[in-house]
Symmetry: C2
Subunit: 428 residues, 2 copies
């Protein structure tokens, strides 16, 4: 179907925001500019008073954990995990995974996110179902804990997920392998995951160097820092999305560059869990692809990617005492273009002819966008994601003027609360 | 007039959020709880599906600077001030000051702020007019630069502002003196301001120890750190609201405690301008009143106090690598109860009988508040200020279900854009 988004400010790859028209043909952007006489759209979306940006890409999350939003906060990490998060996760059934992911999908659509990289489980088929039905793009991986008795079974589940869903939903579902982290997967186990992933041709999504303690323990146990240790297992040989990457030294960064590892930076989660500040300005300077993620909603506590763009633009300035660190446009690119690249989406993440039509329309008719000296600065430093009122993925409208087109939000919130209540009653 | 806010979750001073009723009588909260048979409200606001919180207090801003939102970003501080901000400020006329403050007022009402402490000028009478007409509370001070040739005249303007407006708008306008900072006001000049303020019985609003350079230059020039230096001028003797307070040592903190100085912490601005991280957890631990502010919208770039609550809750955790630093409830109190105390508002900042009826109603019918395990965590870590849909100040409704009752928002945005366009054309 041909769609015309007319009279809209479009954030182009060069950072300009001219008033123009965006033409879609099928799943892609066919042109941006003057509308040719022979372009006959089946639908016209009036972009007046709106800024069109590439859809935001959440490069690291655990969607179904949205069910645990505000369940446990302001605790020390291990106390939080061992006494709150892990016990309640152990009780989650397929319905919980499904409605948690549905709640995440509704929130992502509302806040301008068009694609997300997810690591969770069990029942990742339920998350795939959510991706297919919501119209979003999902890069799914089964979170694999090698130290658990069913570690091997989880590798098999990831393989089944790949076989059943990679390329499903008209290509909107893709599958990676999700070895959780080096401290939950011994080296021989990581080797198995690497071999299996490479056998099917899938990439890896893994947590790396999130906390200082992780680095210290890795040094103590294996005599190497995390990147050198994991490199030795072959995990990085088939393409890798590495979440966090907070505690890095020169050697770590050279390994990241050597393997073309893409980094998912999670400023909100790193701040809330007090993990530390990742060396993002340096990584960007060295040409590493740094995307943004929210992490799970229980450590954030939302899936608001525009908030992560703002945090990325603010955190590194104060951390480096450098007001030029991560400028507005670079932060926006991390949330869009670099995000798409990081999670392995081809021809996605930019407003340009030939790119996938993953587009968020943001209303400029609110005080946060007044006055309009610089739309990119306003987007990065002032806007709120609630100003997103229309969202397209692969040329399909998922939200129009604030109304969700693929999901029943009322029902989702009702069911999510019901699941949450059941889980917390079990834990009382 | 008696108003009943019925069936609402109310954030009480102890941090609980029971489902209850709030009764207002005139400008105050008369009771919270069961509605007595003899309470006959003239109006009933249905609080179903809402959380009532004390109105947010913006303890440090420059409201009219909202006109410069996104005018200049991602620059070094002195380059930004000298080449962009100060030249355009020099062109601002009374209309600019008025419409800039009107834009700020509209944004504050929309985002749940009921009171703000402002330092700016000239034409602070225009800001007073905005406070009176909008229904907000404003704690106004004339920003006084002593090194300018008209320094003395500015003290006189501040005195005139006090004489004309202190207590105006049924007490909603109060006036402080605004000596800008020690680096723009030589010591003898600060002494004059202190004497004048104490003569009329007004408090002081001043920038203190915002940057490392300010502390170093003060040591070089006066042989003392900023707090000892300013203390010697008498500025702290009549009650002080000190903005920023980023670079503090033990002696500074003991001076803050000795004079009961209230601190306005501005996490967003401190991050964006790369000023540094204020030692907020320590100040709170030592019993100092620490409030939150946005600073001007040109260094933030919005007036969203809930964002500052979230930043305060996040920034200090990662700065101290302590996930227990500034927990959710404490961050919310900084934005409400401590804010009211910091800017000198009596009986304001808490939902309790006898307190001023400054109340924000936040809709819980959105994904950011789902599921509802803990409303305070959701407020601090997940909510967006756009969920505020009803706002009362001194028992008067300024916004109801998203509709502004005292201001014409469309007109304000139009006029603000017109002023901004005129100013930037002058600077071209």
């Amino acid at each position: 179907m041909r769609i015309l988004i007319k009279n809209v400010h479009a954030l182009l790859p060069d950072g300009t925001t001219p008033l123009t028209n965006i033409m879609l043909d099928g799943t892609k952007i066919s042109a941006i500019g003057e509308v040719p006489e022979d372009f006959h759209p089946a639908r016209v979306l009036d972009g007046t008073g709106h800024l069109a940006i590439p859809g935001l890409v959440n490069a690291h999350t655990h969607a179904s954990m949205t069910l645990l939003r505000s369940y446990a906060d302001d605790m020390n990490l291990m106390d939080w995990l061992q006494n709150k998060i892990w016990p309640i996760e152990a009780e989650m059934n397929r319905g919980d995974i499904y409605w948690g992911a549905m709640l995440a999908a509704a929130e992502m659509i509302r806040t301008g996110t068009t694609a997300f990289a997810d690591m969770y489980g069990p029942f990742m088929d339920a998350v795939a179902e959510v991706v297919i039905d919501s119209g979003l793009r999902g890069v799914l991986s089964r979170g694999i804990i090698g130290v658990a008795p069913d570690g091997e079974a989880k590798i098999a589940e990831n393989t089944a997920l790949y076989r059943e869903f990679h390329g499903a939903g008209e290509g909107r579902v893709t599958v990676m392998y999700g070895p959780h982290a080096l401290y939950t997967c011994p080296p021989d186990f990581l080797k198995k995951v690497a071999a299996e992933a490479q056998k099917v041709g899938a990439e890896i999504h893994i947590h790396m160097s999130e906390t200082k303690g992780e680095v210290e323990n890795c040094l103590k146990e294996y005599g190497k820092r995390p990147f050198a240790h994991v490199e030795s297992t072959g995990i990085f040989d088939g393409g890798t999305l590495a979440a966090h990457c907070v505690w890095l030294d020169d050697e770590d960064i050279s390994i990241i560059k050597r393997h073309g590892i893409r980094v998912a930076h999670n400023p909100g989660s790193n701040m809330k869990l007090a993990s530390g500040v990742a060396p993002v300005p340096r990584l960007l300077q060295e040409g590493v692809c740094v995307a943004l993620g929210t992490d799970g909603a229980s450590s954030n506590n939302n899936l608001d990617m525009l908030e992560e763009v703002q945090l990325a633009a603010l955190l590194h300035k104060v951390d480096r005492l450098d007001p030029l660190a991560v400028p507005a446009l670079e932060a926006v690119r991390m949330g869009t273009e670099y995000g798409a690249q990081a999670v392995g989406l081809k021809d996605t993440g930019k407003l340009a002819a030939g790119q996938q039509a993953d587009i968020a329309l943001i209303s400029l008719q609110n005080t946060a966008f007044c006055p309009k000296h610089n739309l990119v600065s306003l987007l990065a430093y002032s806007a709120r994601s609630t100003a997103v009122d229309t969202l397209l993925v692969a040329g399909k409208v998922l939200m129009e003027k604030g109304e969700l087109k693929t999901l029943d939000e009322e029902r989702i919130m009702f069911e999510a609360q019901r699941c949450a209540d059941r889980l917390t009653n079990l834990r009382k």
